[in-house]
């Protein structure tokens, strides 16, 4: 059962009709419906292509949050072999909002880190909807240290609404944990590539998106604040999230123009949620090509180029 977004209502109707016709023909094999159903399929496909070619910023937020999009666990299963999850921050707890461990990418050992949102009620609760607590960031710091010491590239997958806003998380130093994780990103001397696969939510994303190369899926978003949060502060009305989303310029396309990201990975027509396998294989190619760009660089060269990249940010304008 496909989950339709609000702007896909027209599409849902057409696909529903085609489905009804086919159900009819299964009951009554003589009914000449195949041609009509095929026409509807074509119409649905055209509509989908048009819709997704012109998604505005708010719709992209909706697509980026789509529950059927492949999540970090799906990518880890498909992109890596011998994945060996590593757990815990050695201080307080294991935070399952952040997955990570050792794995092989094209047979080469790497460290992988990513936010996991979960895909049903049970797993969403287990992974705290992808909202990490300090322990998640401290685990990421541990893993980046491990990568640095054993000279393994780091691949991170970004998919979070943001860091968890909770009492315990604050008491245990959410800010400090995020700051240290960003600091570690900038300190390691190994190739570091990152992909925003869904939502890049503020500081919770920066904590491990501060990489040598950052790619974004075509319909993913990366922002300083959620459109709802921005609307409630600047418009004093959370319903103005469409305006806020547009004003924040949070789409992959705008961020590429601003020089904040390095590439946009095209999604199949209708978004990653409709074609997870194809999307994952495109992400694989992008990761391989970004790693190739960094191969052979000495630790000091990687570190200083990474810092230079961030120091130089802010020279490109959208107006």
């Amino acid at each position: 059962m496909q989950n339709y977004l609000d702007f896909e209502k027209g599409l849902a109707e057409i696909e529903g009709k085609a489905e009804e016709l086919r159900a009819l023909s299964r009951k009554n094999p003589d009914a000449p419906v195949e041609k009509e159903a095929a026409a509807l399929d074509q119409k649905a496909h055209d509509l989908l292509r048009d819709l997704y070619a012109n998604l505005d910023a708010w719709r992209k937020c909706q697509v980026a949050r789509h529950p059927d999009r492949p999540h970090t666990a799906d990518y880890i299963r498909a992109l890596f072999t011998e994945y060996m999850p590593l757990a815990g921050d050695r201080n307080f707890a294991e935070d399952r909002a952040v997955l990570g461990g050792l794995a092989r990418f094209d047979d080469r050992p790497v460290v992988v880190i990513g936010h996991e949102k979960g895909n049903d009620t049970r797993s969403r609760i287990e992974h705290n909807f992808g909202m990490a607590r300090p322990e998640g960031y401290r685990k990421a710091v541990r893993l980046m240290d491990l990568a640095d010491r054993f000279r393994l590239p780091v691949i991170s997958l970004i998919d979070t609404t943001g860091a968890y806003p909770g009492k315990g998380a604050e008491e245990r130093g959410q800010s400090e944990a995020i700051a240290r994780s960003t600091e570690k990103c900038l300190a390691i001397g190994v190739p570091f590539v990152s992909v925003v696969i869904g939502e890049g939510g503020s500081g919770g994303a920066v904590a491990f998106a501060t990489a040598d190369r950052l790619a974004m899926l075509e319909h993913s978003v990366y922002s300083v604040i959620s459109p709802e949060g921005c609307a409630s502060i600047l418009w004093k009305n959370a319903e103005k999230m469409k305006e806020a989303a547009a004003a924040l310029r949070l789409t992959a396309q705008d961020l590429l123009k601003l020089g904040v990201i390095d590439r946009v990975i095209p999604e199949p027509v209708g978004g990653a949620q409709r074609h997870p396998d194809e999307t994952i294989s495109r992400v694989r190619e992008a990761i391989a090509s970004m790693l190739a760009e960094l191969s052979g660089m000495a630790p000091e060269a990687l570190r200083s180029a990474r810092r230079r990249k961030f120091l130089d940010m802010g020279s490109k304008s959208l107006v």
């Binding site: 009492k167 995020i178 960003t182 600091e183 500081g203 920066v206 600047l234 806020a244 004003a247 601003l258």
Partner: protein
């Protein structure tokens, strides 16, 4: 609408409830409501004499109270692109900027100054909460980078006073990118072996807390400052937990191991002077304004560290005893 409500009422109101207080004379304490004479308040560095509430203080007033003899030189900050997103909410970003500049008389939300504190060279950066909530945009990032570069060039510590509602939303992702950019600035100091001291003032929240504010070698806060990543309202809305008394306040963070000390603004200068002299391996500071008597030879130091200024030029230091920390 009639003449009674249009004319008489405002007149009566203006007679009986004079709400605006001329800024140059009186100010009401935000916390306890005591009316405070402006001179008294500025002399107390904007700390309410009756409840000790620490009100916002402008970077310039802070620097004047901090540097020796109130003397400092501002460090120039490279100007970032203005409004690269063409951001507009209910107002244009450019308009909000003009208002903030007019209101504060400052160019941006962070001021960088260099000078001496207790005769030790230091670079200070202070965030201005009255300038668009102190929000961290590209200019604040540039200021912190310029401050770190200046400290490295002069081989002296950087002291940073944070105060912000968070990142400047009007600069979108570019404000978020100040988290890694300012972290690079902190790394410059670390690699040069120079102290980076943060003073967290009310309020320090969001992306500011989650980057340069929490990366200090020593972290100090002013009493009762709100310091957090997610604000108490967001937490209350999201998780519907009742939050304990004093949650996310400086003393609460001190108890939870997130700060080294909570220091009253009146004592900040002395504490910082002591701290930076130790971290820079300088000899102890001489108190008082009289030159040390020639005959009484000071205790021999293992290594005579270079002194920028002779003790004779020391300004009158407060003779009062150091208060207990925490």
């Amino acid at each position: 609408m009639n003449w009674i409500s249009n004319y008489v009422k405002p007149t009566i109101n203006s007679l009986f409830s004079r709400r605006e207080v001329p800024e140059n004379l009186w100010r009401k304490c935000d916390e306890c409501g005591t009316m405070l004479f402006h001179r008294e308040l500025t002399d107390a560095l904007m700390v309410c004499p009756s409840c000790q509430h620490h009100m916002a203080i402008s970077p310039r007033a802070r620097f004047e109270a901090l540097f020796d003899g109130g003397a400092f030189v501002t460090v120039p900050v490279p100007e970032p692109l203005a409004d690269p997103l063409g951001f507009r909410d209910q107002k244009r970003y450019g308009e909000r900027m003009r208002e903030a500049r007019r209101k504060t008389g400052e160019h941006e939300a962070m001021l960088v100054g260099e000078g001496t504190i207790g005769q030790a060279e230091v670079v200070c950066a202070a965030q201005d909460f009255s300038f668009m909530g102190g929000s961290m945009g590209m200019a604040v990032g540039n200021a912190i980078i310029a401050a770190a570069e200046r400290a490295v060039a002069k081989h002296c510590p950087l002291i940073l006073f944070a105060a912000a509602g968070g990142a400047r939303m009007q600069e979108g992702i570019l404000s978020l990118m100040q988290m890694p950019r300012t972290t690079v600035a902190v790394q410059m100091l670390r690699e040069a072996g120079l102290p980076y001291i943060t003073v967290l003032t009310h309020p320090t929240t969001g992306g500011v807390t989650a980057s340069y504010a929490m990366l200090g070698d020593v972290q100090i806060a002013e009493p009762n400052a709100l310091i957090c990543f997610a604000g108490p309202r967001v937490i209350a809305q999201t998780i519907r937990e009742t939050l304990p008394e004093g949650f996310q306040r400086a003393e609460y963070l001190l108890d939870h191991g997130m700060l080294d000390m909570v220091v009253h603004r009146r004592d900040m200068r002395d504490e910082l002077a002591t701290l930076i002299r130790m971290l820079m391996s300088l000899p102890p500071r001489s108190h008082g304004d009289l030159p040390a008597p020639e005959a009484a030879a000071p205790a021999p130091l293992p290594e005579p560290a270079p002194e920028p200024a002779p003790a004779a030029k020391a300004p009158a230091a407060k003779a009062e005893a150091q208060p207990p920390r925490g």
